[in-house]
Symmetry: C3
Subunit: 176 residues, 3 copies
């Protein structure tokens, strides 16, 4: 599914506190390319703002951090160069943000992202939470979120060259 010039995207799935982000960061560093961090989380309040700033500081000056909760495809297009690697952290927060906006067509957004991932010149590493392995949530919005996240994971996995499932900090290779 990836074009001849595409480096192929990487998808890193895992649960809460599974070590998936750290694993993805190490994948990014190992490429030796120019590092970009696309943070999809929103700074709702001072505490969240402080946490995002702390993470940015922890990553150090070798990372260019971009905050974009919604329009991640246009953002990825701007930095789509062969000498770039982009860590998108994380897809599930992006899904949450899209669901909270009025009038967004999530299927169309997912298709745009998958199409971009399939042909990107930059190396893309997506981090996402696997959320579908518990009991069916009683909350309707939580069920819809779970369905959206699962569909997006399938779409990105299909065009990805590598997919990992991380638990307890350890990766299981599912594709690649």
């Amino acid at each position: 599914m990836t074009s001849a010039t595409s480096r192929g995207a990487v998808l890193v799935l895992g649960g809460a506190r599974s070590g998936k982000s750290r694993y993805a960061e190490n994948l990014v560093i190992a490429t030796g390319l120019d590092r970009h961090y696309l943070a999809t989380g929103r700074a709702w309040d001072e505490e969240m703002r402080a946490r995002i700033d702390k993470h940015r500081e922890d990553r150090g000056p070798l990372w260019n951090t971009i905050e974009e909760p919604l329009d991640i495809v246009p953002t990825l297009e701007v930095i789509d160069q062969l000498d770039n690697v982009v860590l998108v952290d994380c897809l599930t927060l992006w899904v949450t943000n899209l669901m909270m906006e009025e009038g967004r067509d999530l299927r169309a957004e997912f298709a745009r992202l998958a199409a971009h991932a399939a042909r990107a010149r930059a190396r893309l590493v997506f981090v996402s939470n696997e959320v579908g392995l518990g009991i069916v949530p009683e909350n309707k919005m939580a069920r819809e979120f779970r369905d959206h996240a699962g569909r997006l994971h399938q779409m990105i996995a299909e065009v990805a060259s590598e997919v990992y499932f991380v638990a307890a900090g350890l990766p299981l290779k599912m594709k690649g």
Copy 2:
């Protein structure tokens, strides 16, 4: 555990929207055998009825669809022939249906299904939701459901010749 004449059953586990049913359908198609689809879901209302009919239409005329929410072993016995392959979709809905009936002995039902799976002449492919990997549910019935599903998965996995765990549309082979 499977008899000499048994083809061995297949168990496909996965989360919500993991692509497990599509993966199982492809396994069924690849056998080249006569396809049967045993749907355990109940058409509670018009919307569910429409959804079941839509799925049946999507599978196309090469599938014989049977709807049976409770007595799946007798149903499987009727079509237990060497030239048949049966997709049972899904075990967790069957567990739910059994729990909602008065006076059903779930352990006995599970044992009957595992015994049938171990000696079946038809190729059997079971799809089921892995639901035990989240926080302990506060709801008592949800906890019981989770326990029942986990026990059933262990029993079917023990007699199965192949077991897969599907995430993001990708299979991890756990047995076979």
Copy 3:
């Protein structure tokens, strides 16, 4: 990470009713060492008391059972001998017990356990519930529990020589 004299600990992760404890018990038995069972669960009431006693009876007289809900490192130190194997069942109950106590520093407790596991002379087999793969819980304490459990799993996995993920009674080797 393990010292030259350490046998290396084993971590067995899995969901509810995944068969993880039975799998861990078989690992313990296969070592041929003197078996100890460190039960972290608390007997809150008569029913729980009866259940714990039933499990102890099922394991049989070849197991030395120790009940310790909180101070598991001092307990492990007492039986830290080369001819011993200890099944710690389970880490998530230990986390729960620590959270319910006033004034416990969970990060320090986890670090102590990981340090002990890295240098233990006895063979240690830890069982724990993977709880981070469902929807974010609405309950704040459940979210904190999930974060603690995930951090502890990463710390133990890092010093362990073998890590398994069990589903439907079947192990996936993640390390070792």
